[in-house]
């Protein structure tokens, strides 16, 4: 029997593939994330144009605020959808490790956030008229996305069965993600200002350490969270 059931890497891949297939069919998560983020950027663009002379200093905040709130939409939908026909119960009853469910959710949200940023960063570049298209930004975006996804997945599964999950998710998640957001905003600002890598790399390291700790701890706690 043990030779019959899939290995954990196969479980992760198959769960991840399901998430992508659902998105390909429904076009819900990525579409709403992009629309929400674009609307936010446009509102900021109008308000900055009227009030601020130097938009450049505000760009890192605008980028990460948009990414954070767009991720809420993705995380909420990803877990609430599995409640509709109680698919989450069906998946948990299958012979798989709950850790593979967690990793697949983190992977999906990270991929969606990366896709969002591929669209968003050039648009910020144009709309806010601030050069932001730097290769050095990629590792910052990546560690930030993993941090948001890893922390978001454990909080989203915990609140998934509550009536006020849409409200609870950002309220709980924002304080938890403050180190990630502060680190990423500071590093992004330094990159836009053209500072050398040694001036901001410690922020990337801090966020990466946060990612490792939270991913490990959340992975251990996930089966308790999913049971409830």
């Amino acid at each position: 029997m043990s030779n019959r059931i899939p290995r954990i890497d196969q479980q992760v891949f198959r769960l991840f593939y399901r998430e992508l297939l659902i998105e390909f069919r429904a076009k819900e998560q990525l579409t709403t994330m992009v629309i929400f983020a674009l609307t936010t950027i446009i509102i900021f663009q109008f308000s900055f144009e009227m009030r601020t002379g130097n938009v450049k200093v505000l760009v890192p905040g605008v980028l990460w605020i948009s990414v954070f709130f767009a991720s809420m939409l993705s995380l909420n939908r990803s877990f609430s959808r599995d409640q509709e026909e109680n698919a989450s119960r069906g998946i948990v009853s299958a012979p798989i490790d709950p850790l593979s469910i967690y990793i697949s959710k983190v992977l999906t949200t990270t991929v969606f956030l990366c896709a969002l940023e591929v669209i968003l960063v050039p648009i910020i570049n144009v709309l806010l008229n601030s050069p932001i298209l730097y290769i050095d930004l990629i590792p910052v975006l990546l560690v930030g996305n993993i941090g948001v996804s890893a922390t978001g997945a454990i909080v989203a599964v915990t609140v998934a069965n509550t009536k006020s999950r849409e409200t609870l998710l950002p309220v709980i998640l924002l304080p938890l993600l403050l180190p990630v957001l502060l680190g990423c905003i500071t590093a992004t600002g330094a990159i836009i200002d053209g500072q050398p890598i040694n001036k901001y790399v410690h922020w990337v390291h801090i966020v990466a350490i946060y990612d490792i700790i939270f991913t490990f701890a959340s992975g251990l706690m996930f089966h308790f969270a999913i049971e409830n």
Partner: protein, 230 residues
């Protein structure tokens, strides 16, 4: 064989199942009867490995062996509920392929086409679950549960909201050829339990209050008296 030893589950200090000792032999068809809140679903969830017991243990095959907490044993379980466990955005074929991929390591180990054929789903294989009626969803759900060729079939009120035809398929596919399978059927429907099962366990407020072997029409009065007396 499924063996439950002093099995209990509490939610916020309130017992949902209280010290249940149950033995289900291979080939036995057991009805789990009780009013709302009796603990039927919690007991099934523990048997399926979805919910961890607060105390006590579940063993498969022998008292010395583990139960559904290990994935290889969960591969031996097929769970059907009033919910389909399917993904509405995906088609019947995609849903079955997905679940099969969670039960088997490689594609050569399973055959979706023959499962769909057996449950009459081939003609609708490319239809999305969100567009199906309750009966067709339940039919797909039964096919999903049978993908892993389970030895233990757990049914949580699967007859709710389905028509006579689907109920017939349910009875025929799950309650026939059961010599090598054990089946636990949680239901409110005493008549259906008598038609389909050989043994009944009556629960009330998490306690096992009555056990009837050789279930027959005469057992109905005993069951109703057991339920009414509480």
């Amino acid at each position: 064989m499924i063996l439950c030893k002093n099995l209990s589950k509490e939610y916020d200090g309130i017992p949902a199942v209280n010290g249940a000792n149950i033995k289900i032999q291979k080939g036995e068809l057991v009805a789990l009867l009780g009013n709302n809140g009796a603990g039927k679903t919690t007991l099934l969830n523990m048997l399926a490995g979805i919910v961890k017991p607060s105390s006590g243990s579940i063993h498969f095959d022998s008292p010395a062996l583990p139960g559904p907490e290990i994935p290889t044993n969960r591969a031996r379980i097929g769970l059907v509920s009033e919910h389909s466990f399917l993904t509405p955005e995906l088609t019947i074929k995609e849903n079955l392929s997905f679940y099969a991929s969670l039960f088997y390591r490689s594609r050569g180990q399973y055959d979706i086409a023959s499962v769909m054929d057996e449950y009459g789903l081939t003609s609708r294989q490319n239809q999305k679950i969100s567009t199906l009626s309750r009966g067709w969803k339940q039919r797909t759900s039964i096919a999903r549960a049978m993908l892993g060729q389970p030895e233990y079939i757990l049914l949580d009120e699967p007859e709710n909201g389905i028509d006579q035809t689907t109920r017939g398929i349910l009875g025929q596919s799950l309650f026939s050829e059961t010599a090598h399978r054990s089946l636990v059927f949680a239901t409110h429907n005493i008549d259906l339990a008598i038609d389909w099962c050989s043994k009944a366990i009556v629960l009330d407020n998490g306690n096992l209050i009555h056990e009837i072997n050789n279930l027959s029409n005469e057992s109905k009065t005993t069951i109703m008296q057991a339920l009414d007396s509480k």
